[in-house]
Amino acid sequence: MESGFLPRTRFQTLLDALHRAGYRCVGPRVRDGAIVYDTLTRAEELPRGMRDRQAPGRYRLEQTGNPRFFSWANGPQALKPFVFAPQEPLWRSERNASGEIRFAEISPPAERLAIIGVRACDLAALRLQDRHFQEGVVADSHYAARRRNLILIAVHCTHPADTCFCVSTGDGPRATQDFDLALSELDDGYLVQAGSEPGRELAAQLTLTRATAAQREAAAREIEESAKSQTRRLPSRQLRDALFANLEHPRWNDVAERCLSCGNCTAVCPTCFCHSEAEEPTLAGDHSRHLRLWDSCFTQGHSYIHGLTIRADTRTRYRQWLTHKLGSWHDQYGRSGCVGCGRCIAWCPVGIDITEEAAAICGGGTHG
């Protein structure tokens, strides 16, 4: 449901409304040569006119002079670090002199967070993470506490990168679910669309003008063109069966030659959920913290069981990543684990391209 038009000159009113409602705003900002999510207090801090150039293993920013704030495709971060923290303590234990142990949960800081500029692929990924962390046999209280406190301001994607392929996974470029507000960015401002009750309340606080038919058409056209501009895609076959039918394909050896087994792909992937746990006792030994840390199926510890590493080589690790991401996710969550954001392609230090590997193993071209 569309609420109206917000001129770019009044973008600050959106931030102000969120601040008034007690949210810390986090939005796209340029840091260290990339667009990352960071605290946002003023609209001027947004990456006006910034455009990214992405390719396998490569990401560069350039200034185009364009007045828009959101004319870029996703940077390295997704929503994942805001709900599933890269490293956090889960609980602590204390042992007294008589040997009794007391346990206490360490709760994540209860901070209300508004994230601005979220893309469709990341919303789809969030849905998957919600299913994993909140809708299984137990709900993860740390994830849930963060998730509860989120308000999401989406922006329909009009500037996909060369690495993007959300169209082929069906997850973008238009945001269709799980946002509170969604914006369409035009040359002079934003069409504002509410997707939830908090979103409607927020929209009501902005002085929006009525959107014209021409604005609506322009917005729709931009999203359509954005979809058309994507050249990468995953093979359209049912990849689950194709992958598991090709577990001994020679391509696994080929990719293992190139793959560094560094885990960058899993770390930037917005749906990857693997983590390890570690214990951090004080030197005095009077108390100890139990942490969880992002892990990856590319580490040795991931498949280590007392004396045996199930996936000791890169071939089996890469195969685990791909067969899980594009294959066994279907068994677990009824769909593929890939939302087409392209991060694992751009942020792989050696530029390994998931669409290319999938095509080589399962057949089917990667460029449309």
């Binding site: 040997g99 693997c274 294959g327």
Partner: protein, 277 residues
């Protein structure tokens, strides 16, 4: 919301040394209400936390009806298990659980039960044997099969002798190499399958041990006419959280912690035996 990650304090009531590297901890939650409410099924496991060192999955080996205490039999293999060897009666640790899907004992009722283990012997299936023997009338034949590398590796030797004297019970033990006075078969455990006497079509087989051994056993059992869905196996995978979140125990689309650790063979068949899963 209760945090599913946080352990609860338990106390070691008794410690039994089973062999030089295997010991059993008999535990009780220090909170009486928690202890009273604790229920589990054979084949389920707990996460045991050693203060300041770490948390590991360990099967519960005692009988679910024994409400007095719950037991864990631990083999020393690495840092946490090594640390646990120091615990003695009165010491505290953390426990959370029970987790996972246990053995199909309800399904096995009224049928022949066969238990197959390999390697150094598997605590989880010992609990099944004890379970069946305590409820001997609920089950038909009991076949216990165990293969070890060397006869010295067999622990609970006296128990095997004891079991072999039970009615309707067949104990088949094989060692690849044996020392003097070894009463059982010398050779590969697979050679024993010919001697197994069971109603193959209706039998329920439960196995745990090295996956290579299980692979061979499955082939032999299928050959004998045991249906695929009559075979159950316990899959060991790395586990950090035990509640289906950490992703370490994935086996294809399954999470060993919540969909297993006990699986019916057809559930794992597509990947079983493929190196790397």
């Amino acid at each position: 919301m209760a945090d599913p990650h946080v352990p609860h304090e338990a106390e070691v009531v008794e410690r039994i040394q089973e062999s030089p590297t295997i010991f059993t901890l008999r535990l009780r939650f220090t909170d009486p209400a928690r202890h009273a409410a604790f229920r589990f099924e054979p084949g389920q496991f707990n996460m045991l936390y050693l203060y300041g060192v770490g948390e590991i999955p360990i099967s519960i080996v005692s009988d679910p009806r024994d409400e007095h205490l719950f037991d864990h039999t631990i083999r020393v293999v690495g840092r946490v298990t090594k640390g646990f060897t120091q615990l003695k009666a009165g010491d505290r640790l953390g426990v959370r659980g029970p987790y996972g899907r246990g053995w199909p004992l309800r399904r096995a009722k009224g049928r022949d039960v066969m238990v197959v283990t390999g390697g150094l012997g598997c605590a989880p299936v010992v609990s099944v044997i004890n379970y069946v023997i305590r409820r001997r009338d609920d089950f038909r034949r009991l076949v216990i099969m165990q293969g070890v590398k060397h006869s010295d590796d067999l622990i609970w030797r006296s128990q095997y002798s004891l079991w072999s004297r039970q009615r309707d019970t067949q104990v088949l033990v094989a060692a690849d190499a044996g020392a003097a006075l070894w009463p059982w078969h010398i050779g590969r455990v697979t050679e024993l399958f010919d001697r197994v006497l069971i109603d193959a079509a209706r039998a329920v087989v439960m196995m745990c041990g090295p996956e290579g051994m299980m692979r061979v056993a499955i082939d032999n059992l299928l050959h004998k006419g045991v249906p695929e869905d009559g075979i159950y196996l316990s899959m060991e995978r790395s586990m950090q959280c035990a509640v289906g979140l950490c992703g370490h125990c994935q086996y294809g689309g399954k999470f060993a912690c919540k969909d297993g650790p006990v699986f019916a063979y057809p559930e794992v068949k597509p990947l079983f035996g493929i190196r790397g899963f």
